[in-house]
């Protein structure tokens, strides 16, 4: 098995994929974000418990490859408890990291984010990594 594949499917990603964080349907939540990639069929819903500019709780459910599932799990974990501004900042941070357009002084990454660095060698997988993050960013910005 080649080393860049090992890097792509890092231990953190494998762990998130096998035991995703808050992986549970919460259809009663007032805010449901749909993250869907029509090209490959990956499809997640993120359920947001959102209260006066703070994200209280997040859950998610759905179907997708290891990268997209793990990245959604990381999102849920990273954004819970954050204020709107913080959460948007984290989205920008993650998306910028994956798309390699972060200025170096902005790279203050969480360990979980860095686990996706393997995607840099597989540009065709960056859509998988950013799927839920992009939709979440759009949602948060609409609430600013």
């Amino acid at each position: 098995m080649s080393s860049d594949l090992k890097k792509l499917y890092s231990d953190i990603i494998k762990r998130h994929q096998e035991a995703p964080f808050h992986f549970e349907k919460k259809t009663d939540m007032q805010n449901t974000i749909k993250a869907y990639n029509p090209i490959c069929g990956d499809r997640f819903e993120v359920y947001v418990d959102f209260d006066r500019k703070t994200i209280n709780q997040l859950h998610f459910h759905g179907f997708g490859c290891a990268i997209s599932k793990a990245s959604t799990s990381v999102l849920v974990k990273a954004l819970e408890g954050r204020t709107l501004a913080e959460a948007i900042g984290l989205c920008e941070n993650f998306l910028g990291f994956i798309n390699k357009d972060l200025k170096s002084n902005e790279v203050l990454l969480q360990e979980d984010f860095k686990a996706f660095s393997g995607v840099h060698d597989f540009p065709e997988r960056s859509d998988c990594a950013t799927l839920a993050w992009q939709e979440m960013k759009k949602f948060l910005e609409s609430r600013k």
């Binding site: 098995m1 080649s2 792509l8 090209i39 490959c40 069929g41 990956d42 179907f63 490859c65 990268i67």
Partner: protein, 403 residues
């Protein structure tokens, strides 16, 4: 006699440039033989001119060669009149033409269109939309657990209100080969015209529109060794006057005044605008290429690969085949237990094996089978037993990595 697969493979330049490539995404698009590529290059390099529109030699030669491809196409599909062949952008456009420029004007509220559950989006959405606009009903022939049409239900689905039946010859997901002869026969008893989606079959399997009495046949050059951006709509002579122009513009008209326009006959009325001339000439070269093959040997070859691949795959364990019809082509869809199809295809890609993962533009089929996505492998004439073995090895590797 064994099939000369290595000689054939050497006709396809991509394998000279990428000797390591194991190309198993043939159902998405086939590779192109040198003769097809050369036809396109030669046109642009030596003969480039517009058709129908100039009295100089280049232009009249382009026109003549363009028209001659219709003859090649009819000899491939068993038609007898070259004016039954219209050139389109591809299968998708061909089907849309039938939906909007033939069927729509006949369709009233309460009428029906029948398709099957295994249709590609191209043979589903046009009918769905035209039905919605007309208040007609879209009826679906369901598929059984092994991926065959439940034809025992056909009689109850067909009646006088059905205005068209559209069905794929070969499923691009399940590999199922449908008994189109029987289907056409049943539809015609009720005078229902039938469209066959030949995207996965024409050029690879014999098809005879006269013998089968097919009304419309849609297919794409790029899936049968020809160029991208070119396709065919075959229309039986008796129905051709009922197909209206679909796109309006130059080249398709008899007479134009500011107030009204008189159109040419089929197929010219469908070919408005400057046509994709090298695309059509390339299709001609692809037909030539196919016709010098022994098509039965070719089918035997890809069938061998398919059977061998399926057998070896099943012996790996933890594999679910999606589609196990009795009569199947060279397409295999499957799932690997606990591993998402994209992760499988990503691993294979890393080993230079090109396959496809996803819903293969047949989302409702997969949903009805309770499968969100599959890995799909599709064989063509240039694939070898070595390709099969490399792929099996790589799948074994994926399974090990995730276990």
């Amino acid at each position: 006699m064994t099939f000369p697969v290595h000689a054939i493979k050497s006709n396809f330049p991509i394998f000279t440039h990428r000797p390591e490539l194991v190309y198993l995404d043939n159902a998405a698009t086939s590779q192109k033989p040198l003769s097809v590529i050369q036809t396109i290059t030669d046109f642009y390099t030596k003969e480039n001119a517009n058709v129908h529109r100039g009295l100089y030699e280049l232009s009249s030669r382009a026109t003549k060669r363009y028209e001659e491809v219709r003859k090649k196409v009819i000899s491939l599909i068993g038609a007898s009149n070259q004016n039954t062949v219209a050139f389109t952008k591809g299968t998708t456009e061909s089907i849309n033409i039938v939906a909007y420029s033939f069927l729509k004007k006949k369709l009233k509220a309460g009428d029906k269109v029948v398709i099957s559950a295994m249709e590609h989006h191209a043979n589903l959405i046009p009918w769905q939309q035209v039905c919605k606009e007309s208040g007609a009903l879209l009826e679906i022939i369901p598929v059984n657990e092994v991926g065959e049409l439940r034809l025992e239900l056909l009689d109850s689905l067909l009646d006088k209100r059905v205005k068209l039946l559209a069905i794929t010859h070969i499923s691009n997901v399940l590999g199922t080969i449908n008994p189109i002869e029987e289907i056409v026969f049943k539809a015609h008893k009720l005078k229902i015209p039938v469209l066959i989606d030949g995207a996965q079959s024409v050029g690879h399997y014999p098809i005879d529109v006269k013998k089968l009495d097919i009304d419309f046949l849609a297919f794409s050059a790029h899936k049968m060794f020809g160029p991208l951006g070119t396709g065919v709509l075959y229309c039986k002579e008796a129905l051709a006057p009922h197909v209206d122009p679909h796109t309006y513009g130059g080249g398709s008209i008899k007479n134009v005044e500011f107030e009204e326009t008189e159109f040419l006959d089929y197929p010219h009325k469908l070919e408005a605008g400057t046509p994709n001339i090298p695309g059509v000439l390339g299709l001609g070269a692809a037909v030539d290429y196919i016709q010098q093959l022994d098509i039965h040997e070719a089918i035997h070859h890809t069938k061998n690969l398919t059977i061998s691949f399926k057998d070896k795959l099943k012996s790996l364990g933890g594999i679910t085949l999606v589609g196990q019809a009795q009569n199947f082509g060279s397409i295999v869809s499957f799932q690997v237990k606990n591993i998402h199809p994209h992760d499988v295809s990503g691993f294979l890609a890393h080993a230079n094996i090109a396959v496809r993962a996803g819903h293969h533009c047949a989302q409702p089929l997969l949903e009805s089978m309770g499968v969100p996505a599959t890995v799909r492998i599709s064989f063509s004439i240039y694939n070898t037993m070595d390709d099969v073995d490399k792929t099996i090895d790589a799948i074994l590797g994926v399974k090990k990595f995730w276990s």
